[in-house]
Each structure stands twice: as C-alpha cells, then as structure tokens.
Subunit: 109 residues, 2 copies
DNA sequence: AATCTTTATCGTAATATTGCAATATTAAAT
DNA sequence: ATTTAATATTGCAATATTACGATAAAGATT
C-alpha cells in the first residue's frame, strides 16, 4: 500500500486533514509565518527568505495553494501571494471547538 | 533527497510542524474526533470504530503519542488513550494568534 | 527582437509514509 | 500452566513526499 484510504473517512475528516497536512512541514510553516510577518503582500522574496532552492519553494507554495491556505495573484512578471484568511479561520475554529469540548470533560490520563 | 531539511528551520517551526503533521491524516483526525466524542477515555474500541487494521491503528496511535497529542495509560491488559489538552491548546493558540494578526491587515488578494 | 527576471514544470534520486499479515508481548481469565 | 484478549512490533510492498538541477514559460526591460 502506501496510499491513504481516503474513501473510508468522511468528507469533513478528509478536508480538514488535507488543510492540516499542508501545514505539516517546517518550510510551509515558515512561509505562512513570513506572510503573516510582512505587512504587505509578498511577491518574490520568499526565495531569498528561505534556505531552500527556488523549485522547492515553488512546490511548497503550490501545495499551500492547493490546500486553499494561500492565494496567488499575478502582478506583472512576479506573483503576489497572500494568506487566505478564511482557511486560517477554519483551522482556528476547528481547534477552538475541540478545546472547548475538552474543557467540559474530566480527562482520566 | 526526500528528507525534510529540518536543520534550516527554527526549533519552534519544526516543533509546531511536527504536531500539525501528526494531525494531517484522516485516520488520525478520526481518532482525535472519536476521543473527543466519547465521554470517557477510550480503551480498546478504536479498532472497532475505524475501517483500518489493528496494526495500522496502533501505528497511528503511536504517531499521535510521539507528537504529544495523546497520552496512553496502561489499564490492565488494555490501554487508555486520551487527548493531551495542552497540545490542543497550543494548536488553538497558534492559529488564534495568526488569525488575530491577519485581522489587522488589509490583504491585497 | 534579444535579454533579463520571476515563477513553474519536468525528471529524478533519496527518503518517508501508509497499510497489513504475521508474529510477539503482556496481562487477565480459566 | 494454558488459553484468551488487547496491543505492539516486525517486515515488506505500494505509494507519497522532499529536494533540486535543468529547462520552460511569460512578462518586463533594454
């Protein structure tokens, strides 16, 4: 095997897992944190910011985009990437909901 | 290559990425959601709950445990797994912080 | 039009992940 | 002491991910 059995899980489970998975890599965390840090939208300098080759970063950006975490607008010959706030909100709410539910319980461990 | 270049990122970036990565799989999301759903701590029925073989589930539990998301207590010949609230709190705060920072910005995309 | 800049894609090697059958381990029950 | 039940580990095949050099594509600049 080696392939995830997505058909055995609910659509919601798969979709949240996909979003989360896209963030499960330090380079992609670094990209998101950089996008949060800079006040204007980022255009081309992620390559200078990260210790990875340009094709690698392009690939990571693609994954973040596929997962809906960032958006990219063509701006001349460069591209303006920024965070999709809705995606972050979804993740924030997901964990807030879990945290709230946990508070009402008496964990045994 | 194929291995993540962890040495090029900060400890914080690597540690949050590790936690998030552990959740980036529908089976592990399903496990967490099941642990949230059941009111008592789970012991052995995750295997009956999920459409995966026992060794596969054991492996997923191990990953969640390694990432600090769940704890496991031996309880007779079975094991009582439960969510580590601190880990969920960390994730919740991480995304809340990002969401708050984003609100103060005017996204261009 | 030729060149430069920026980003994407292709191809490929190295490594990691997913899943499970078979087997081991550990403790309870008989 | 054997058997049963629950969980973990091992070994392995299938697939996915990570990384990057080489190259392509597309708009800007000269």
């Amino acid at each position: 095997m080696g392939a995830t059995k997505t058909e055995n899980f609910t659509g919601k489970q798969n979709s949240i897992a996909t979003m989360i998975k896209a963030l499960g890599h330090p380079a992609r965390i670094a990209i998101i944190e950089y996008l949060v840090k800079v006040d204007t939208c980022i255009c081309g300098d992620i390559v200078n910011e990260l210790p990875l080759a340009q094709p690698t970063i392009s690939q990571h950006l693609k994954e973040l985009k596929n997962a809906g975490l960032i958006k990219g607008n063509v701006e001349g010959n460069s591209i303006c990437y920024c965070i999709d706030e809705k995606a972050i909100d979804k993740l924030q709410k997901y964990f807030s909901t879990i945290a709230a539910k946990l508070e009402k319980k008496n964990n045994c461990c």
